[in-house]
């Protein structure tokens, strides 16, 4: 029996001020740098703005929209199709594909863009082999550095977001729908298009939103491929016109546009929430495929895995072999890996802690204000990294100024900057930027279990905190781990924040890879890139086993 909302809010607020205040406090910390972007965007426009509006804003909007729409649509289709295959059917190597198809996530898209760009270039292995065989092919056919090429890169290396979420959803709760549809005689493609796609809409939307954010804030791929997106406009304004004010203004407009879309999506989703609560989620039992069908399913998964992981990794491995000696002589890979792990793990832990606290408060309080805060909390994902970075930087420098008397008391008067020269600033930056991956996973976990277990526990006399630890937390273990792995991999390959917010002498694998790739030395970038991929691979693998053991 659901209680009236008003009663719940007041009861909740009275008894559990601690939860509310902790979540409000942490939300404030995360939201502050994002709000500062908005605040700066509200300043009066300067003399460059007219030019920017005329020649950058409108020219750069259509390519941005095309890129995002096509990348999202293609990732959603590919991710959903693969998720459907491994969830609904049994075929050779299915157990491997169940987790291996998430691996492309470990490849930073800009490294993939450079890798494919070079493989397909005139000096790359493809054209070189063709020339060796005496085939005269038009070099323009292999040109991947274009808008469709960028869509290809984003699709192949971001579809796992859709794949992971949709697969989890179908496996856990797609059973009854699919079973019924099968009883009614639907199978194969009609089943996929008429039943599977519609019922997985929330999962698809969640995954596609992550793809959209990643695509929007990307700089590396679009810069190398020459696509004039809004992010490029922001960077041109800042780095070319030396105008950080207008760049921030563009960033604020950009963010406002994205928030508008997010709110719209929320409104659309609200209507649909009904159907979810009435749905009887039952696990999906895979149907065994035989013969040609089984071979086809295996081939399809293998093809996706090859294009999105095996081929680029093999190519990187060859290049790393060419340059291994010269690069390893100069780089301490052990230290790079330790730095990467340290920063990523700390930030991931913080993100999950904040996500769990805030998401739990939001779902229990169920007020519009809380939900709005939660949405702002995850907005950092959509803003280009350097804009966020400046927000975080300003905040930490201000904090250092505030704490100066304390530092002086500790005998550090000569060097008043402490926090902003520490790893804490970078960690804070990661938290602001990557709340979305952690929070969305936790939120979807809470959505799935609903309130009934918590209410039962409360009826039996347990307080909300005890209920949280004894009932809620164990029940969202799967999504929590999934969110942790996603966030961890994201942070391990992150670049712009790491570049600006790191303390002295703090190199990570991502900055090392960029040091070379940014200077068009992709062969040298191969070794650190492979290590990033290795770390991602390990985390996906560990996650898979932890989640697996949790199910048994």
């Amino acid at each position: 029996m659901p209680m009236p909302d008003r009663f719940r809010v007041s009861e909740f607020a009275r008894q559990h001020k601690v939860w509310t205040s902790i979540s409000l406090l942490s939300a404030a910390c995360v939201v502050l740098p994002i709000l500062s972007v908005f605040w700066n965007g509200l300043r009066p426009a300067n003399e460059n703005w007219a030019h920017i509006r005329r020649h950058m804003l409108w020219d750069h909007v259509p390519p941005t929209i095309r890129l995002v729409v096509f990348a999202c649509a293609a990732s959603a289709m590919l991710g959903a199709a693969l998720a459907w295959l491994v969830a609904a059917y049994d075929f050779p190597l299915r157990r491997l594909f169940r987790w291996a198809l998430a691996l492309p996530l470990a490849v930073p898209p800009y490294i993939a863009a450079y890798t494919y760009g070079n493989m397909l270039s005139y000096t790359g292995i493809v054209q070189q082999t063709l020339r060796g065989m005496g085939v005269r092919a038009n070099p323009a056919w292999f040109d991947i550095m274009s808008e469709p090429g960028a869509v290809f890169i984003f699709t192949m290396f971001l579809y796992p977001y859709v794949f992971l979420i949709t697969r989890a959803y179908l496996e856990k709760s797609g059973g009854s729908y699919v079973e019924n549809a099968r009883l009614l005689g639907r199978s194969g493609l009609p089943l996929f298009f008429r039943v599977v796609l519609p019922i997985s809409r929330p999962a698809l939307a969640g995954g596609a939103a992550l793809v959209a954010y990643e695509t929007l804030s990307d700089y590396g791929v679009v810069n190398y491929y020459g696509i004039q997106t809004l992010t490029i406009a922001i960077f041109k304004t800042w780095f070319g016109m030396y105008d950080i004010e207008s760049a921030t203004r563009l960033g604020a407009l950009f963010l406002a546009g994205i928030l508008a879309v997010v709110v719209l999506e929320r409104l659309l989703r609200r209507r649909r929430r009904y159907s979810e609560t009435t749905g009887r989620g039952a696990p999906l039992k895979p149907v065994r495929l035989r013969g040609a069908k089984a071979a086809l399913a295996t081939a399809a998964c293998l093809a996706a895995l090859a294009v999105a992981f095996l081929i680029p990794v093999a190519q990187l491995a060859q290049w790393a072999g060419w340059t291994f000696e010269s690069v390893t002589l100069r780089a301490d890979f052990g230290k790079l890996a330790v730095n990467t792990l340290k920063a990523s793990l700390l930030a991931t832990a913080l993100i999950l802690a904040v996500s769990v606290i805030v998401a739990n408060t939001v779902r229990m309080a169920r007020s519009g204000l809380h939900a709005a805060i939660a949405k702002l909390l995850t907005a950092g994902y959509a803003i280009p990294g350097p804009i966020i970075a400046i927000g975080v930087l300003s905040l930490f420098i201000a904090l250092d100024r505030l704490l100066a008397p304390l530092y002086a008391g500790m005998g550090r008067g000569a060097a008043p900057l402490v926090l902003s020269l520490s790893l804490a600033m970078l960690i804070a930056g990661y938290v602001v930027r990557f709340m979305a991956t952690g929070y969305n996973a936790v939120e979807s976990g809470f959505e799935r279990i609903g309130m009934k277990y918590a209410e039962a526990s409360r009826t039996l006399g347990a307080g909300p905190t005890r209920t949280f630890f004894a009932v809620d937390l164990p029940m969202i273990r799967g999504p929590l781990l999934g969110g942790a792995a996603l966030t961890f991999v994201e942070i391990a390959k992150e670049l712009p924040l790491t570049m600006l917010l790191r303390p002295f002498n703090f190199d990570t694998l991502a900055t090392k890879a960029y040091q070379y790739a940014g200077d068009e030395r992709i062969y040298q970038a191969a070794a650190p890139s492979l290590m990033i991929i290795g770390i991602g691979l390990a985390s996906v693998f560990i996650l898979h086993h932890m989640a697996g053991s949790g199910q048994k």
């Binding site: 100069r330 400046i390 550090r412 060097a415 804490a424 004894a470 002295f504």
Partner: protein, 351 residues
């Protein structure tokens, strides 16, 4: 209830852990306890820089702490850190950015007889707010089998109809193109440069894509006949681990434009002394070290850049290109015209 306490303990512990790692790593880069350090904010990401810093530490006992990042972001960081900044030196590529750092008021004059004697005055800021470390030329490369170099003359000529559909260049987002256009604004004025940029955009063999190396490859692949690119990428191609890239370097010719007129566009990387530097003496020592003969030869050998110290030895490839006439304009002008250059390229449809 026990769980509640446990929860609080975990929260407190994780916060202290973050703060503690913060304080611990915050120590790096600070000159407490009389340790000899110099703190560098650098936008140059080359291995050879790191090697030279290490050599400097060995010779002088002064530790070099580095934060590498994007130039404009680092300037913004230094500005916001204000008087508390730990930075002593700002190192970057591009004269325009160096002069924008000067304009931002974050630099101060370098006073050193050694530096004055090692670096010619036109490769330093006129108030010595920054000192050049190396230069690179923006040259024209051509397909040796299809283009007779006598057809090539100037940057201005690249906008003429004879190169329609034959020219390759990367996007206008890149600094190298922005500073080239800024230099042409300084030399030819805004109106002529506007027309020129339109001509360039109209002559392109394809929409701009890829980096400088990719333009050279496209020339050899036959997508276009000539390309604008930086000199040192030709060096990198010729030293590539991929034999196919070495072949590309061998199939293209390097042409230094505007030899009869205003000279080839040259850009500079340099080091600026931070206004609120706490380790000024060490910082100046590092610049002296980086501009000495050996370091300069090392820059050039590893990265195919032109040294600023005229005594430094050149690698064979650079020697083979011979002497050339460089643009004689104040690098500060590049900074002044950079925003205009971006505007002009945007308007011309140079993507």
């Amino acid at each position: 209830m026990k769980k509640n306490i446990l929860f609080k303990l975990i929260a407190i512990a994780s916060l202290t852990a973050v703060f503690a790692t913060g304080c611990a790593s915050g120590k790096a880069g600070q000159a407490d306890g009389g340790e000899k350090v110099v703190n560098v904010y650098s936008a140059r990401h080359y291995d050879v820089d790191q090697q030279l810093y290490e050599k400097f530490t060995k010779e002088t006992g002064i530790r070099v702490n580095v934060i590498e990042g994007n130039a404009q972001e680092l300037i913004e960081r230094i500005k916001r850190e204000g008087e508390s900044t730990p930075a002593d030196l700002f190192i970057t590529v591009d004269g325009g950015i160096l002069s924008s750092a000067k304009t931002a008021g974050i630099l101060q004059p370098v006073e050193s007889k050694t530096i004055d004697s090692q670096v010619p005055s036109h490769l330093r800021d006129k108030d010595n707010h920054w000192i050049g470390l190396s230069t690179r030329a923006r040259v024209i490369v051509y397909a040796k089998d299809r283009v007779d170099p006598s057809q090539l003359s100037t940057y201005e000529d690249l906008a003429s109809d004879k190169w329609k559909g034959k020219l390759l260049v990367r996007s206008s987002t890149h600094l190298y193109n922005q500073s080239l256009v800024a230099s042409l604004i300084a030399l030819n004025g805004e109106e002529l440069t506007r027309e020129w940029a339109k001509g360039i955009a109209a002559n392109l063999a394809r929409d701009p894509e890829g980096g400088d190396r990719d333009q050279a490859k496209a020339v050899v692949a036959g997508i276009g006949d000539i390309a604008i690119m930086n000199s040192y990428y030709v060096g990198h191609l010729s030293a590539s681990e991929n034999p196919e890239e070495v072949k590309v370097a061998e199939s293209i010719g390097v042409f230094f434009p505007n030899q009869e007129t205003t000279g080839t566009h040259v850009n500079i990387s340099g080091a600026g002394l931070i206004k609120h530097s706490r380790n000024k003496a060490n910082a100046i020592k590092l610049i002296e070290f980086l501009t000495n003969e050996q370091s300069q030869a090392a820059f050039s050998a590893a990265n195919f850049e032109f040294p600023v110290n005229p005594k430094a030895e050149l690698p064979e490839l650079l020697k083979s290109w011979g002497e050339f006439k460089a643009q004689q304009i104040d690098f500060a002008v590049l900074g002044e015209h950079n925003a205009k250059a971006v505007e002009i390229m945007n308007e011309a449809g140079w993507k």
